[in-house]
Subunit: 92 residues, 2 copies
Amino acid sequence: MYVILFYDIADRSMKEKDNSRSIRKAVEKYLPRVQYSVFEGEIRPSDLKKLKAKLKKECEHDLDSIVIYEFDKPSYTRREVIGIDKNEPLFS
Amino acid sequence: MYVILFYDIADRSMKEKDNSRSIRKAVEKYLPRVQYSVFEGEIRPSDLKKLKAKLKKECEHDLDSIVIYEFDKPSYTRREVIGIDKNEPLFS
């Protein structure tokens, strides 16, 4: 399956413990980073389940937001970046 | 066509002029907001062109990042939110 994951992690100043690094590391274990806060790629359903469990544990549920879109296959016709473009597209 | 748009707008403290409101307003004119930084919905190609032109103008290209995924039709099988869930799914 194919996944696009966006996250919006609140600033460390609002938290007791900075979780941004642990969240980024958890996602990077399974998905390539395509922008500062955007990851996408093929993932096994069993790995996605593990990733979600980890994120549910690490996330501060009243401050952070992680959005995961699941697809049967990569189906977008185009990805366009305005502003900082951290990486080239994975496919085109 | 169907679009998922994600933005990561740098904090106003880094800028001469705060552009976060103008960027949000520009996107909201065309797309429903589904999370704090995520918008998605049907859009006419001509409107998407207008929106991109506006965002290219408003965006601070070395600080902000806006990522637009374009689809022929809504094709994700699932959207899952971990943490703050601002809205219910548009379809399921």
